[in-house]
Each structure stands twice: as C-alpha cells, then as structure tokens.
C-alpha cells in the first residue's frame, strides 16, 4: 500500500500547518484515520459522522435518480413528445434513455454546483478557523439540488449556496452549531430573493421558461404549463394528475420531492438504520393529517363554499397532502436533521407534530406560494430549543420534587 504510506508521511510532515485541515479532509475521505483512543473508553463504536451522513446520502440517491428521469419525462410530456406513464411505476415510457439523458443534463450541474460551491466555502472556513472539515455539508449538498426547481439558473444557486453555508451555518460555528437547517436556508434565500423565479408556474418543468420567452418574441408555439399540483389547487383549477401519478411521482415539482413512494422507502431505510428519527417522521405525518382533517371538516360543515379561494386546497382529502408538494420529502429528510431538530425524545414528538400541522396550514392559507413545509420546518427549527427547554424542565422538576418529598 504505497499510497497509504505516502499520504501518512505527507500528513505527518505538514501537521499543524494552515492547509492541514484541507488535506486531512481528503485524506480521511480515502482512509479512515489511524487515530487511537486516549483516556476514556479504549474501544469505540463503529459509527462516525461520515458514516452517518453517508447513510442519509444513500437514502437520497433513489430520489436523485428518479428526479433525473422525471425532469426529462416532464419536459417531453410538456412539449408533447412524451407518452404518459399513467400509474405504472415500471413503465418504459418513464424509464428510458431520452428522459435520463435530458434529466441528467439538467440535474447533474445542480449537484455539481451545490457540492463544489458549498464544499469550497466549508474548506475555506476550516482553513481559516483551523478546525477539521466537518461532514454536515455532504448531506446538505445532496439535499439542495433536490429541493430546487429544475430550471433554476446556476448563478442563482451559487449565490444561494454561499449565503446558506455562511449565514446558515458557519457564522454559528459550523456543523452541529447551526440553528437553521442549511439546505432550507438556501431554499428560503432563493424563495425570498428571487420570488418571481421560485413561485411562478414556469420553473417546474424544464424548458417552460424558454418556451415562454420564445412565445413572447413572437413565435407561434403552444405554451407549456409547468404548474405544480399545489399551484393548480391554489388557483382553484382542476388537477390533471391522478392519485397514482402523485404517489409514484410522475408530476412536476422540485427535482427530488415528487416520488412519495421512493421517499417512503428512504424514510423506512433511515428508520431501520436508526439514523433518522422515527419519532419526528411519525409525529409529523400525524400533524399533517390532523390539520388536513380539520380543513376537510370545515368544508364538510359548509363554513366555506366553492367560491372561496381556499376551497380547492381545503377540500383536498386530508391524506392527499402527504403525496403532493414537498411535505413527504421535508418530513423524511429535512425535519429529521438532528442538529436543528429537538434533541430530546419527547421534544421530537412535539416538534414533528407541529411541523406537519403548520406545513398544511401554510400550504392552504399562503396565497403567494402554496408550499409551506420549508417555512414550517424553519419555524420549528427556531422553536426546537424552546421545546427542549420545557421538556428538560419537567425532568428538573421531577428531581426537585424528589428532594421536597424527602424533606416534607
């Protein structure tokens, strides 16, 4: 193993120098380090942060691959060259080279920009502050391309990633110290900085934007409707997709969020490997269902009629909320981020429930942009320490009471 020795000698030679963290980041990526325990336990469990993060990435890969096919599929369907897959998950109308090539050409640049820009910022901060490069961005970098519209300009993504990593994470001290989920900070930045891009009906299907500008310049073409289902519902229009399309993911939307079935499998994988918190996932689903049922109840009671602008979203069956928009993706991959979630097991129940609850609430009542999950998660990120505080106070009180009972 000549490489092993060469790298080891390089590491020893440049120990303590300014660029050492950057070198170590690459070195430890190739080789698990030769570090041994000093004091404390002499043996250690097999898991480290890299393995943990890697598990989340593995759970995301199916969504990424599906996202590529779907980007191509949606594009060809929109310009009228595609054949509907119509509820058949293994349909060759969906899983074919044309879709993949087109989608990969659109999606892989997003992945590359996300990782290159984000990791560069991470490396710069690690070198300046003299700490090791932490693994948090491995997951963030994968999440970012999956939660943006496929047609987002790369410069926009670059600006957002720099903002998200610096303001969302590094200013707090890096991985483990941040209050807000960095991927969602990036998403929120895009949403508020470029609202016309992020909330229009032209960014969700690749090519729609281009087609619109062609029409504007006088060409005689059919315009592409690239609306998400939520966008359609918010305008009280009828939805063209059936429930199977929504569940399997043959719908427009952010790159990785559409296929509920793959997200479900990813979620089960995270729960099985004990990397993702089942408490958060389960309680968030319950929260969303409860809020959805309340809205259905309002409609059933006849308190609003079909002239209300909220009618379509409110009358959407409560469980359908789980298979449209980014709710499922947010619950499984974003709400469970351990750094920004509640850290106590009891707190996780409350935190998750409120995420589901508020997501559907914002989704229904936000007229400008009918997707609430990222705002709900960011909001609960802010409240997570408060939830934990009260959960821990209960423990403290129990301890105090023990003493009081004794002295009484």
């Amino acid at each position: 193993m000549a490489l092993k020795e060469t790298l080891h000698n390089l590491k020893e030679k440049h120990k303590g120098q300014k660029m050492a963290p950057a070198f170590n980041a690459i070195h430890t990526f190739l080789y698990a380090p030769n570090e041994t325990t000093h004091g404390g336990t002499h043996i250690k469990g097999a898991d480290d942060l890299k393995r943990t993060m890697n598990t989340v990435i593995m759970a995301l890969v199916p969504c990424l691959v599906f996202g590529m096919f779907n980007a191509g599929y949606q594009h060809y369907m929109a310009i009228g060259e595609g054949v509907a897959a119509a509820g058949d998950f293994f349909s060759t109308a969906f899983w074919n080279w044309d879709n993949l090539v087109f989608g990969a050409w659109k999606v892989l640049p997003l992945v590359a920009v996300s990782y290159i820009v984000g990791l560069t910022v991470e490396f710069i901060f690690a070198v300046i502050k003299g700490h090791e490069v932490e693994e948090g961005y491995l997951v963030t970098g994968m999440l970012v391309p999956l939660i943006v519209p496929v047609d987002i300009p790369l410069w926009m993504l670059t600006v957002a990633v720099v903002f998200g990593v610096v303001i969302g994470k590094e200013v707090f001290g890096g991985t483990g110290m941040n209050i807000l989920n960095p991927a969602l900070t990036i998403r929120a930045f895009l949403f508020f900085a470029y609202p016309t891009w992020m909330s229009g009906d032209k960014v969700w299907v690749a090519g729609a934007q281009e087609r619109a500008s062609q029409i504007a310049s006088g060409l005689e073409l059919d315009s592409i409707s690239g609306e998400t289902i939520l966008g359609t519902l918010a305008q009280n229009k009828t939805v063209d997709y059936d429930l199977w399309d929504m569940f399997l993911g043959f719908i427009p939307g952010s790159v990785g969020e559409t296929s509920t079935i793959l997200i479900l499998l990813g979620g089960l994988f995270l729960v099985f490997t004990k990397i993702g918190s089942w408490r958060i996932m389960l309680s968030a689903v319950i929260g969303a269902l409860v809020m959805g049922m309340m809205f259905n109840g309002v409609v059933d009671a006849g308190w609003i009629d079909s002239s209300s602008k909220f009618y379509s979203l409110m009358s959407t069956p409560f469980w359908v909320h789980l298979i449209i928009g980014g709710l499922a993706f947010g619950i499984v991959y974003m709400a469970t981020d351990p750094v920004t979630a509640s850290q106590t097991n009891k707190g996780k129940w409350i935190y998750g429930f409120l995420i589901g609850f508020i997501s559907v609430l914002i989704r229904v009542f936000n007229p400008a942009y009918p997707e609430g999950v990222f705002l709900a998660i960011l909001l609960m990120n802010v409240f997570a320490p408060t939830i934990d505080h009260y959960v821990i106070q209960a423990n403290v009180k129990r301890r105090m009471n023990r003493l009081k009972v004794k002295n009484a």
Partner: protein, 450 residues
C-alpha cells in the same frame, strides 16, 4: 429482603478474550508501585523517605486536604524511588518487594461491639478508607460527612471485567465483616446488587438490603443501581465500595493484616490464555501478562476494563481500584474507505451498513482505533438508548462543557460518575471524550460548590 431492579436500556459489548474461570497464583512481582493519580483530587504528603524499609500496611503518604486519610503499602520492601512530574507532583512510588510480606500488625477488630466512631478511626488508621468512594463527585469519601446509604455492586456487566461471582468465591466471612462494619457508618442501609440468577457469594449477606439486578451493561454499574434504589439529591452523600475491596477491609478487621491481594482477571483478545490470577494492588503486570501468554506485541495494556480503565503500558502496575487487566490490540492503522464500507467486525448500535445487530452472540476483537474523528455533537437520541438513568445525557455534557454550574446541578450531576458515561462515549458518533467532560464538570462543581 431482596428487591428486583430491571434495566432495559444499555448495551452488552461482547469481546473476544474473556478470562477463563480458572484461578492461578501468579509469580510474585519483584516491583510494586502506587500511583497517586489513582486517587482523584488527593494531594499526597509523604511520611517515608526514599530508601526506607516498609512493611505491608505501613503508611506511605496521607492526603494534605484530609490529613486523617492514609494510604498504605500493599507489600513489604524498600521504597526504591519517588517519581515526580511537573510542579513536583508525585507520580509514582516504586517499591522493591521482599520475597515474603512482613505485615504491620493491627489488633483483630471486634465489629459486633464497636461503634461508628471506632470503626471509622480503624479504617482511617489502617489505610482502608481510600476504598470508600462517595457521590457526589466520585472521590474518596469525605471523613466529615455521614452517608444516607452505602452501595455495593456485585453484578458484573462491563465487557471483559472480572466476574465478581467468581472472584469472590470463598470470601464470605470477610465480605460479611466488612458489610456489617459499613452498615454502622450510615444512617440508612447498605444496598448490595447481585445478578438476577447468579450464585453470588454476596447473596448470603446479612445487615444489608439485597437487590436482584438484571439487564445489559451498565446495569452492573453501581451508579445505575443507586439511581434505581435511592438517587442522590442535592446535599446528600452516598458511599460506594467495590465488592473486591470489601474483602481487603474484611480481612483487615478479622486478622489485623492489610492484605492487598485480590482476584484479577487477565482478559483481552491479545492474550493467548486469558484467565484469573491472584495479585496484589500495585503489582507489576509484566509477569502476569507473560503467564497469560501475550499473543500480540502491538497491544495496549489497560488496568481496569476497556471502557473505564487507564492505559498503563506493558511495564505498568495494577491500579489501586482495579481487578481487571485488559490487553487489546492497538488500532493505529488506516482503513481504506473505512467510513463507508460495510462493517462486520466492529460493534455498533446503528444499522448504517454495520452488521453487529445480525450477530448478537458474536464476540468481537475490537482495537483501540477511534473509528473516526472528533466532531461537534450532531446526532441526538443515540445516547439515551444506552443510558438507563433519568437524566438527559447530551444536555448534561453540554452543561459541563460550557461550565454552567446551575444547569449541571439541576440536570443531576450529583448522581453521576464518569463511568456512567462510558457507554455513551463508546457509541458517540462525534467521538467526544464524555468521561473526561463529566470528570472536569464534577471537579468544577467540587471546587465551586463543595
């Protein structure tokens, strides 16, 4: 009277090289040593000079902060050297042992008719007091405080640790004497924890409350048993004594001799023939390791078990409180793509391409490799799975790190010892030094609150 304690949370770490249950007498070591670092927060003041002839049981030094607490020699011989570290702190007293021990003879002690003061004075004078630890702070018991209860764990769950059911066989008389003596020193009772289905010699004891403990490690840790039986509140003090040290106390009371001999397990995957030996406190471990057939030279010798012991090196000495010597392979090698390839030969509580959950019976030969680098706390909820006390482990660690005394107090630090955080440290994804964080937190509290 006996009660049941069932522990659900925890983790049994099955390691290769468990000591076989045969007991041999090891050849007597020529050199013995006491290391004051074994006695946390003790400032030693020597009472003998270098080169002096000493008897077994003769005082070597006392604690400057509690002058009545004395520390005695485990063997007779010559005090060969006093090694000092920075600021002239004594790091080691090395004794060249005589071929046969000459004991400093105390009178046999009439425990039945003695009162608390007499027992206390006798334990202090004879050098048995340091065996008594106190909580809060996990330090040698303060002489001016009376404990609300005394706890002894006779249940072994730690990986590779000496099985007390085996090590205490035949010591019933001494154990009983020591327990009776201790029972007079507390306002409450002496609580003894034994394994649910064990035939522990401690089962037959009188003057104490017996508890049947079951469950995975750390069920055998005395701190877990205290939390179940009678947790420490602010202002209260409890004492803990290791079961094997009761034997020394009991024998002293019975015969008047401080006999520092105990049954020691030599264990670990680097040994060819792991088994039990009798050895004295402070004994050089080299001859013992040779007896147990060292199979792997690039290995670490640990006095104590692998989760809480201290590295002593191949030329080191058995620690004052330890009854286990572990020898495990050093893990200072790189592993190609070690962070993402499937793992079959290491222990994990997750299933993130780690497969120890498939082989619950398999015995592992773990090395000292950290399996990753030190990181900030990221993952939550995994400590709670192996931490059976009603305390929030992550929040307590963070309170210690930021030195928030108020938080430390209300989160339950009075109940804790570093060893309670051994398993959380083992499973920690961020490879944080939990036991050191807790130790430093306790020291801070001791200095600030007292």
């Amino acid at each position: 009277m006996s009660r049941d304690i069932k522990i659900k949370k925890g983790l049994n770490i099955n390691l290769k090289g468990e000591a076989e249950k045969t007991l041999s007498k090891a050849p007597r070591a020529k050199v013995f040593a006491l290391r004051p670092e074994n006695f946390h927060l003790v400032t030693p003041k020597l009472t003998v000079k270098e080169g002096a002839k000493i008897k077994a049981g003769e005082v070597l030094f006392y604690d400057k902060k509690q002058e009545s607490v004395t520390f005695v020699s485990p063997v007779s011989g010559t005090l060969k050297s006093v090694e000092r570290g920075p600021k002239r702190v004594i790091t080691q007293l090395t004794i060249e042992a005589d071929l046969k021990d000459e004991f400093l003879a105390h009178q046999p002690f009439d425990v039945e008719n003695a009162d608390a003061e007499a027992i206390k004075a006798h334990l202090l004078a004879s050098g048995c007091w340091p065996f008594i630890m106190q909580r809060p702070y996990h330090i040698i018991a303060r002489t001016n405080k009376t404990p609300k209860a005394i706890f002894i764990s006779g249940y072994t769950t730690a990986p590779l640790a000496a099985d007390l059911d085996f090590a205490l066989i035949g010591k019933e008389d001494d154990l009983q004497l020591a327990i009776t003596a201790l029972s007079k020193l507390t306002t409450g009772s002496v609580h003894v924890g034994v394994g649910q289905d064990s035939n522990s010699p401690l089962r037959a004891m009188k003057d104490c409350v017996l508890h049947n403990v079951s469950g995975p490690h750390p069920a055998g840790n005395v701190g877990v048993q205290i939390a179940q039986i009678d947790p420490v509140n602010k202002g209260e003090v409890v004492w803990t004594v290791s079961a094997q040290d009761l034997v020394v106390i009991g024998e002293l009371l019975r015969t008047g001799k401080f006999n520092a001999e105990r049954v020691v397990a030599l264990a670990g995957s680097s040994l060819g023939a792991p088994q039990y030996y009798t050895a004295k406190i402070g004994s050089a471990v080299a001859p013992l390791i040779q007896e147990a057939q060292l199979a792997e030279s690039h290995s670490r010798v640990i006095s104590g078990e692998v989760l809480t012991g201290s590295t002593i090196g191949h030329e080191g000495y058995l620690g004052y409180y330890d009854n286990t010597i572990c020898v495990i392979p050093e893990g200072d090698d790189y592993e190609f793509f070690g962070w993402n390839k499937p793992v079959f030969d290491k222990v994990s509580t997750t299933r993130a391409l780690t497969f120890s959950w498939l082989q619950p019976k398999k015995k592992f030969a773990l090395t000292t490799n950290t399996n990753g680098e030190h990181r900030a706390f990221v993952v939550t909820g995994n400590y709670e799975e192996v931490f059976p006390m009603d305390i929030y482990p992550l929040q307590t660690l963070k309170a210690c790190m930021v030195k928030d005394l108020d938080q430390m107090e209300v989160l339950g630090m009075y109940e804790l010892a570093p060893e309670d955080f051994a398993l959380t440290e083992f499973v920690c994804v961020s490879k944080q030094p939990h036991q050191r964080i807790i130790r430093e937190g306790l020291d801070l509290m001791f200095n600030e609150i007292g």
